[in-house]
Amino acid sequence: MALTAGFFYLFAALAVASAAMVIMAKNPVHAVLFLILTFFNAAGLFVLLGAEFLAMLLVIVYVGAVAVLFLFVVMMLDVDFAELRAGFVKNAPVGLIVGGVVLFELIALFVSRGFGVGLAQNPGAPVAQMGREASNTQALGLVLYTKYVFFFEVAGLVLLVAMVGAIVLTLQHKANVRRQSIAKQVARTPATGVEVVKVPSGGSVIPAAEGRS
């Protein structure tokens, strides 16, 4: 138990610290890397709670796809972060007030009602029906392809639309685009790939562009 508590405080502290670093880091690339660290720590917390499926999902989807996408966006777009941050001192009091109000509301809620009140007291609340032996990944798998197969298939159609849409809106068939042709590259021989040029002393020769593709 003490070990679990120790890991909880480790992950929680690291998550809060790296989340703070996300908004404080000067370099936007570092900020995204700290975001990834935050996700990993959150995944650790999920594992401690016994929700290993959510932990895996967090690592695969958020770290593997979303954060990497962020990283690409940050590196490829020339965003002037100094300018974005210019109004920080001026806007800080407003932000503090809003944050303070939300914090106060959260504390008030938990003090007045405690942590235990929730769906369990509602007449229509769903009842967990998993066997004790099933891990939650297994339990999800058991209903996802049986009880929820309709939603699963429709979600598949939504993803198909997203893929077709992304391709339709971005793919351009231009005549002069050079594409990689692996067969051509493999078929190159020293005879076609190398050109021996006699360089006159004191001068230079620009090799012919042919054969490059």
Binding site: N122, P123, F150, V161, G165, V168
Partner: protein, 490 residues
């Protein structure tokens, strides 16, 4: 094989989805696909839609629920789905020529339209909150892409982007509302939500009502009811005309059916709460639709404001929360869809040697050049204005009648007054066509477009002679929904 027999009620959806994927595969592997010209994917799509419609007609419309009530098939869904498929097929038939001329016809646009239709059909049949959201997103995502499909025009991209950003916002609100509803009732299933809401005293329902309001905001955006209509004129104007015609017809009906089923099945116990919201949306839409359309010069923008107005009239039917009201709403929407398709068939035919035009001024003197088209457009606009004995008059008659029966006199009076204001801008177009000097000469109407135009004109004119098939079908559809609701309440 035995395991699949139970899925028979959703066979039309399955067939259309598979048809879409088959066309996608054909598009990938056929080498002869160039923009605007391919292996006939447009006609293949129409064929898939017709097969889907035939499968629905083949069913008997008995109430069946699949997947624990996530997918409901009844007379109501049968009526709406047939209309959706018919509208989509007609729009496609009349716009194939324009699409291929503007190099927009590709297997992809056909696939996206088919998948959007599948989404609409799932919306109509949605029996719980997850099915509602998935159907809605399937439809919306496909429509966002279709709006932006013409990449050679900035306006089309702008339309797609605006639609996407505002649509995502509304989806977010809808999801937030759905999560609140789930939190306060403990179920995603409409019938269970109805039971839980019935059992609680009204004072404890505040969380549920807040959730319902957010859910309705999301859906009001999809039917473009005021004050969630801002995207409509820009998207209608920016998207290519065939796409606008598609937007104006089938998705409206699907979103309306979804709204009706959600409110009537899921929240009959707190009807007095949502009726207020519907009444407000209805009045605001009718009034804004009537006044904002007056200054429009572009006919596609005019159609956008006109559709906002019509949404207001159709909402009257829902506001009554009665069987007659639902029947009136379905009749209204069916007639609205036919009128819209006819109007867009005429707009598609507004093309000169230099390309398509969209100004109302360019219609001037049309009666001297092409009397047939001018006549059909005039009939449709008279009908939209609600002039007897055309179809649009009966549509309004049914909703106002339902409102009077339920004692919503204010709503009916505001409706009548705003339809008088609305008549002004419809009649102005007719005046321009018949009494002004002609300025531009249109190219002859393409045959497929002309056929659809004639059909729509004939429907508008002849509805008065044989109204019973549509009215009876709508009554049966409305009854199936109200009987189920009443049975659940007991």
């Amino acid at each position: 094989m035995q395991a699949f027999v139970g899925y028979a009620p959703m066979l039309p959806e399955i067939v259309i989805a598979i048809g879409a994927m088959a066309i996608l595969m054909l598009g990938v592997f056929r080498k002869d696909v160039t923009p605007g010209e391919d292996f006939g994917s447009g006609w293949l799509t129409v064929m898939v839609l017709i097969i889907g419609g035939a499968l629905i007609l083949n069913g008997d419309g008995a109430r069946e629920a699949l997947f624990d009530g996530a997918f409901i098939s009844d007379a109501f869904s049968r009526f709406s789905k047939l209309l959706i498929l018919g509208a989509a097929a007609l729009v496609l038939v009349m716009s194939l020529d324009t699409l291929s001329r503007e190099k927009l016809l590709s297997p992809e646009i056909c696939v996206l339209m088919l998948l959007a239709v599948v989404g609409m059909m799932l919306m109509v049949s949605a029996g719980n909150l997850i099915a509602l959201f998935l159907g809605l997103e399937l439809q919306s995502l496909a429509l966002y892409v279709i709006a932006a499909i013409d990449r050679s025009k900035v306006r089309s991209s702008e339309a797609g982007l605006k639609y996407f950003v505002l649509g995502s916002l509304s989806s977010g609100m809808l999801l937030y509302g759905a999560s609140l509803i789930y939190g306060f009732t403990g179920s995603i299933d409409f019938s269970v939500i109805a039971t839980v809401a019935q059992g609680q005293p009204a004072t404890q329902n505040i969380g549920l009502i807040v959730g319902l309001v957010f859910l309705m905001v999301g859906l009001a955006f999809k039917i473009s009811a005021v004050p969630f209509h801002m995207w409509t004129p820009d998207v209608y104007e920016g998207a290519p005309t065939p796409v606008t015609a598609f937007f104006a017809a089938a998705p409206k009906l699907a979103a309306f059916s979804l709204l009706v089923r959600t409110l009537l099945m899921g929240f009959p116990g707190i009807a007095t709460q949502w009726q207020q919201i519907i009444v407000f949306l209805s009045i605001a839409s009718m009034v804004l639709g009537a006044f904002a359309a007056i200054g429009q010069k572009n006919i596609k923008r005019l159609m956008a404001y006109s559709s906002i107005g019509h949404v207001g009239y159709a909402l009257i039917g829902l506001a009554t929360n009665s069987e007659a009201g639902t029947q009136a709403l379905l009749v209204y929407l069916a007639i609205y869809i036919v009128m819209t398709i006819g109007a867009f068939a005429c707009i598609l035919s507004m093309r000169t040697a230099d390309g398509p035009v969209e100004d109302i001024d360019s219609l001037s003197g049309l009666a001297n050049k092409n009397l047939g088209m001018a006549f059909v457009l005039a009939m449709i606009f008279f009908s939209m204005a609600g002039i007897p004995p055309l179809a649009g008059f009966f549509a309004k008659l049914y909703v106002f009648g339902a409102a009077m029966k339920s004692g919503l006199y204010t709503l009916a009076i505001i409706g009548v007054l705003s339809s008088v204001v609305g008549a002004y801008y419809y009649l102005r177009v007719v005046k321009v066509m018949f009494f002004d000097e002609s300025k531009v000469t249109f190219l002859p109407v393409v045959r497929s477009t002309g056929v659809v135009m004639t059909l729509a004109g004939a429907f508008v004119l002849l509805f008065v002679v044989i109204p019973s098939p549509l009215v009876d079908a709508a009554l049966e559809a409305a009854r199936s929904l109200h009987v189920a609701t009443a049975a659940a309440a007991r």
